[in-house]
């Protein structure tokens, strides 16, 4: 029992470390696209991401805990229960804390970027956007001095020059020989650590839970519980081959596969099919609950198969 609790405690600590790391990574990603290069943006972004990325950190922690339980807890049933308890603690903590009005308000206020800042191109550097290059010698009194624009997609000759080009601060354009050219730097896009889930027409679990803030608590917890059971079902990966290194790598791939599977299941086509099947059998449930049921069933089936296979192997080994 002491070892069992120790594994859970250690996993909780790992969860905190993982959450901090991925939150800061997400904060850095947001900071890249911020209009002002301010180190404070990364902290504000990380605070916001910490609330959103709990499911991701939890699933990371669970996969690490697979190996900890495997090493330290002999009973597989106890290990399974430990993982379930750990998952419930982490998910409840994550979902509960993000519903605290005070915290949400504080994060929303701090992450609100405020007024849009116009970032003019640096003077003395040729800036190219698309096939249009713009050079500005200097800025003075709402004007760009020595402005040269070259639209490489137009016919030759293409160089346009204006000794003084007025800047339209509402659009960030300068007028060079009667044509408007953009004199602001383009908005940088945030660098996503995981690609868009559009491939699956569904949403990543963290995006899905994030969008359910206004939904009834039962639906939110059902969605989290379904995902949790599905994740624990992947425990078989940590002993799938006779080489622990291969198991570890396959488990890492399994983690990605789990998240992708969840996103695929949440997609319109698959969920629609499941919904149609459920209706035919007289079962009428909201989509999140239905999806959670499917995921839970898959997870429990995988878990049961693994427990059965282990027991059989141990019996054969004469233990």
């Amino acid at each position: 029992m002491k070892v069992w609790l120790g594994v859970i405690g250690r996993a909780c600590l790992e969860f905190v470390i993982i959450l901090i790391l991925i939150s800061f990574a997400a904060g850095a990603s947001i900071a890249i696209s911020a209009p002002v290069s301010d180190t404070g943006v990364i902290y504000r972004g990380a605070a916001k991401a910490a609330l959103d990325l709990v499911p991701l950190a939890a699933v990371f922690t669970l996969f690490l805990a697979f190996f900890s339980f495997e090493l330290r807890v002999r009973s597989r049933a106890a290990g399974w229960l430990g993982l379930l308890l750990l998952g419930v603690i982490l998910m409840s903590f994550g979902l509960g804390i993000r519903r605290l009005p005070l915290l949400r308000e504080a994060v929303a206020t701090s992450s609100n970027g405020g007024a849009k800042v116009l970032r003019l191109i640096p003077a003395g550097t040729a800036e190219q956007q698309g096939r249009v290059a713009l050079w500005i010698g200097s800025f003075a009194g709402g004007e760009a001095l020595d402005a040269v624009a070259v639209d490489f997609s137009s016919d030759y000759p293409r160089l346009a020059y204006a000794a003084r080009a007025p800047i339209d601060f509402s659009t960030g354009d300068v007028d060079v020989q009667g044509r408007a050219y953009r004199a602001t730097l383009p908005d940088a896009l945030p660098l996503a650590l995981v690609p868009e889930a559009s491939l699956f027409s569904g949403y990543w679990i963290w995006d899905r839970l994030d969008s359910m803030d206004g939904e009834p608590l039962l639906e939110v917890f059902s969605a989290a519980a379904g995902f949790l059971l599905l994740a624990i079902g992947f425990r078989f990966l940590c002993r799938i081959t006779g080489w622990p290194l291969a198991n570890a790598l396959l488990a890492a791939a399994g983690l990605a596969g789990l998240v992708a599977l969840d996103a695929a299941l949440s997609g319109g086509a698959i969920l629609g099919t499941i919904d149609a099947f459920a209706r035919r059998t007289g079962l009428s449930l909201p989509d999140p609950v239905l999806l959670a049921c499917v995921e839970g069933i898959i997870g429990l089936a995988l878990g049961s198969a693994e427990l059965t296979a282990t027991s059989r192997r141990r019996r054969r080994a004469g233990e």
Binding site: A163, L249, A252, A253
Partner: protein
């Protein structure tokens, strides 16, 4: 086998297998529609190397993990024994990747560009031939031939085009020759006569005849000039010329015309005349040979040939050029002619033979908001300190591409612009903006400083340097983490069945998502560093963050130990 030798063996074997896989993939995915067949082998090798270098960190992780993960003994002993070979192997691979990377990228970019140019020129040549524009078709086909002469598509089009050209020549009617009317100018005639006299005294009757004839044409009443023209012609005749021979007389007349152009400061015109004479079966004439060479030399001082530009631009041009001419403080060129703005724009530019060639060139120089020089030229050539604006077709010297000045020139000839530009530096700064990965590490470093002087956005080159500086960290960190993973996740108990090695491909495939996420984190470190600390200081910031990650990996590796009594079977 000790862990050191095992690491070398497994890692190198894995690298070879991985390279073979990348090569196989490159060969399978090769398409002749995309890449010209003449470059197929080079392209496949470059693609395989590109993939291999990109996956180097992942391979290093996997190699170390497999080597240690299939070893026997205590984890701490294995890891300690692995430190030296890991460091040596990682250092070697990282250094090799840093050196080979730019060359691989340059090769890939060059082949991609050449293939794209080949395809577009081939299509244009075919379309022009269909439309009856044989000159355009020949020009486009010339580009294709410069890239891949032996391509069957080029040979097929060449035969069709040649047939069309022969037909066109047969059907052509020669235009009637027109005689230029010379205006009356007694003062100039006198000058020409005096020059003719001087040449006659030196015994250069060839020149004397030309100047005297010109003087006579400028002033028909100038009897001395006519007389001198006649006597010098007699002298020439006594040396072999036959005045009754009309063909020879025409030849001499053309020769004199070319000579006159050369002496009057029009080397391009002289080259045109002597080239025509050389092509018209007079190439053996010593005067033609001599003055053709002389006019060629003079032409190269003030102009350049179109085949030079075509050759350069068919290699790998940098598109969309706009840069500032760096100011030279305290130089003779800079003093007294300081402009607030001096910019060059061009459709593209290419480096060849120590010169930088531009297409659709524009140069603007302004002072106090007023343009004092604005020149445009279809082609331009930058050599040390000057930009030549006149371009001549070597085989058809009548085709001359000349500059047009909207403002200026305020000093010097109209055929060139003197600017304090070093072609190599300018090209490096331009290439760094478009394709920085093709520059060597040293060149890339220099290009950052030059970009500022040339008013070029340094962000791409700094971004590339950030990405390159990440490679050694990634290789070392991956190696440390691989050793750690291998040490921790070893198979315990009796022996290591060889059949388990069959899992290696699945392990490699399983590593892909982790590798992709790690690569994204690495890109994130680079991008964030560039955002927070612009310029070269971002390299220091990124290096600091990566050192911390590496330190953490080493710490984890050093702290690796067995968990007694809790073996994974």
């Amino acid at each position: 086998m000790n862990s050191g030798r095992r690491i070398f063996g497994v890692a190198i074997l894995l690298d070879i297998v991985a390279f073979a896989c990348f090569l196989g993939y490159a060969m399978a995915s090769y398409s002749a529609n995309r890449i010209v067949p003449a470059f197929a082998l080079k392209w496949e090798a470059a693609e395989a190397l590109h993939g291999f270098l990109g996956a180097l960190a992942g391979l290093q992780f996997l190699g170390l993990a497999i080597a240690l993960g299939s070893s026997k003994g205590k984890a701490e002993e294995l890891v300690q024994g692995a430190i030296v070979p890991t460091v040596v192997l990682s250092a070697f691979l990282a250094a090799a990747a840093l050196m080979a990377g730019p060359q691989v990228e340059a090769l890939r970019s060059g082949i991609r560009w050449a293939s794209a140019t080949f395809s577009s020129s081939l299509d244009a040549a075919k379309a022009s031939l269909e439309a009856g524009d044989l000159a355009r078709s020949r020009e486009e086909l010339g580009v294709c031939q410069a890239i891949s002469r032996r391509d069957p598509r080029v040979a097929e089009l060449e035969s069709r085009l040649s047939a069309a050209e022969i037909n066109a020549i047969r059907n052509a009617v020669p235009p009637p020759a027109r005689e230029a009317v010379q205006p009356m100018d007694p003062v100039a005639a006198k000058d020409y006569y005096l020059k003719a006299l001087a040449y006659a005294e030196k015994g250069d009757y060839f020149s004397a005849n030309w100047y005297a004839s010109t003087a006579a044409r400028l002033d028909p009443s100038y009897t001395d000039a006519r007389r001198l023209a006649a006597t010098s012609w007699e002298e020439l005749h006594s040396r072999g010329a036959d005045p009754t021979d009309k063909e020879r007389a025409a030849f001499y007349s053309r020769k004199l015309e070319g000579y006159g152009l050369l002496r009057s400061g029009d080397p391009v015109g002289a080259y045109r005349v002597f080239k025509e004479l050389a092509d018209a079966k007079h190439a053996d004439d010593p005067d033609v040979r001599r003055y053709l060479a002389e006019s060629l030399t003079e032409t190269e001082k003030t102009a350049f040939f179109k085949d030079e530009v075509d050759g350069a631009l068919s290699s790998y041009p940098v598109p969309d050029i706009l840069f500032r001419v760096p100011a030279v403080h305290g130089s003779a060129k800079g003093s007294g002619r300081e402009a607030s703005l001096a910019l060059i724009a061009a459709k593209d530019a290419a480096w060849s033979g120590g010169a930088l060639y531009f297409r659709e060139f524009e140069y603007l120089e302004a002072a106090g908001g007023i343009p004092r020089a604005l020149v445009r030229s279809p082609y331009a050539k930058l050599t040390d300190g000057k930009i030549l604006l006149v371009c001549v077709e070597r085989d058809r010297p009548a085709n001359v591409y000349k500059p047009s000045w909207s403002a200026g020139p305020y000093s010097g000839p109209a055929s060139l612009v003197e600017l304090p530009l070093v072609p190599e530096n300018a090209y490096r700064a331009l290439a760094a903006r478009v394709d920085p990965s093709t520059l060597s590490l040293l060149e890339a470093w220099e290009a950052v400083g030059e970009a500022k002087a040339y008013g070029i956005d340094a962000a791409p080159i700094v971004g590339d340097l950030l990405s390159r500086s990440a490679l050694p960290f990634a290789v070392f960190t991956a190696a440390a983490l691989g050793a750690l993973a291998g040490g921790r996740f070893r198979r315990r108990g009796a022996g290591f069945p060889r059949g388990l090695y069959a899992l290696a491909p699945f392990m490699a495939a399983a590593l892909v998502p982790v590798f992709l996420i790690s690569s994204r984190i690495d890109i994130l470190i680079s991008a964030w560093s560039a955002r927070i600390a612009p310029g070269l200081s971002s390299l220091l910031l990124a290096a600091g963050i990566r050192t911390m990650v590496l330190f953490l990996a080493v710490l984890l590796m050093a702290g690796a130990r067995d968990v007694d009594g809790a073996g994974i079977d």
